[in-house]
């Protein structure tokens, strides 16, 4: 008997708890005094000239593709061509940047540089990067390779050095 009554109770409760969703805005609240149906004179235009300004104000739906330029003062460079011959490859991120990141933990004490999205011979890339970084630090470089996820982690802040090496090798 009690069990049979439960579903109905549950349904009732649900109706109370979830009323029809209404967007909350001051525009939805009624006026204190009835102002009748006021008509405003509007001119409806579809001029192309005005619409150009609207398109200028709207954000692009996808990240724009960088066009080749003579010089890049910010030292950002597009990815080079014909990288098939190399034993490893790092694709750019959706923002056309190098996937090299700095992770800071333990209240700023531990700094770990992470190179992501590595395809191909990850072990060879790690050796090449290690040879480049080693002169920058007196301690031996500590690193971790995750071949399955395709990332390398270096202990220490080598973000700019690794980015420099990768851009030099046209990645």
């Amino acid at each position: 008997m009690f069990l049979k009554r439960l579903p109905a109770l549950f349904l009732n409760k649900c109706n109370i708890l979830c009323p029809k969703y209404q967007h909350i805005s001051y525009l939805n609240s009624p006026f204190v005094v009835d102002i009748e149906n006021k008509k405003v004179n509007y001119e409806v235009t579809n001029s192309i000239e005005d619409w150009k300004y609207i398109e200028r104000a709207l954000a692009p739906i996808v990240v724009p593709i960088p066009t080749p330029k003579d010089k890049y003062p910010s030292e950002w460079k597009p990815q080079g061509q014909n990288l098939n011959s190399k034993p490893y490859f790092i694709p750019r991120t959706k923002n056309h940047m190098l996937p090299v990141y700095l992770h800071i933990s333990q209240r700023g004490i531990r700094r770990i540089t992470k190179v992501r999205n590595i395809q191909g011979d990850i072990w060879l890339l790690e050796r090449h990067l290690r040879d480049f970084i080693q002169p920058l630090d007196i301690r031996p470089i500590r690193s971790q390779i995750n071949e399955f996820s395709g990332y390398i982690r270096f202990y220490g802040d080598f973000v700019n050095a690794i980015k420099h090496w990768l851009t030099k090798h046209k990645f």
């Binding site: 069990l3 049979k4 439960l6 579903p7 549950f10 405003v40 004179n41 509007y42 001119e43 409806v44 235009t45 579809n46 001029s47 005005d50 619409w51 150009k52 300004y53 609207i54 200028r56 104000a57 709207l58 954000a59 692009p60 990240v63 724009p64 593709i65 960088p66 066009t67 330029k69 010089k71 890049y72 003062p73 910010s74 030292e75 950002w76 923002n95 056309h96």
Partner: protein, 293 residues
Amino acid sequence: MSRNTVDKALSMLRSLPRVALNNIRDNPGSKMTQKRGRAQHGGDKHGAGNKGSGQRQNYMRLGYETGNWPFYLRFGYEPYYKGHHLRRQYPPLTLFQLQMMIDTNRVDISKPIDLVSICNTGLFRLFPDQHQFGFNLTEEGADIFQAKINIEVQWASELVISTIERAGGVITTAYYDQHSLQCMINSKKFFERGVPIPKRMIPPKDAIEYYTDPSKRGYLADPEKISHERLVLAQKYGYELPVIEKDSSYEMFLERKDPRQIFYGLHPGWVVNLKDKVILKPQDEELLQYYNS
């Protein structure tokens, strides 16, 4: 168990509600409420401890140091940051970041750059409700900046102004009130709301001086004085001022917003319909007067 019982149990299960977060509860007896003991040793102190304000429940007032001159009264009141929560904030955007956006085509330099185009990159976020009134273009990257741009910022230092002008560009500092900023940070969302574009308000009393100053390239300053100040700054920093009149994009460099305007080319009072691609322009004299004043 007979077949009948199984069927009954299953049909009961069918009519029961699904187990969900809103209809589960703890197992009976899993939570024990602590009880105050009354026996020979259970009723000793009841957790209040022995002697003092703990036992008598007469705690000292906050900050009282039992006879010392309290710490909170020991020093004078020095309100260095009085009203900091009311002051206008301008979160930084560096010249280096701007150059990077230009190199990667995130902003289009063939058109004037303003807060709308910076927010449209998705690389800069602004929170007007946290008293942020636009961006402050800062000096980092001034040594590498090389783009010819027409930019409108909310705050800029002298070095930033000189860097932009040395590269052959134009800079203006402009004020936007909070309602205008709310429309600018996500223009698509604003147009979809189907409300008229508001008119931009004039700067408050303490900002008027900055935005009418030609040396700060204020948008309310006299254009002739600004061109004079451009020359003065070029002499101060020792560079030859590029002649923008002879530039191929001179028309773009001249493009400025009206002090009442929020978006380039769009007047306050217009309603934009993105679905039908039409613009509704008010014709009532009363409305026109309101939006033009």
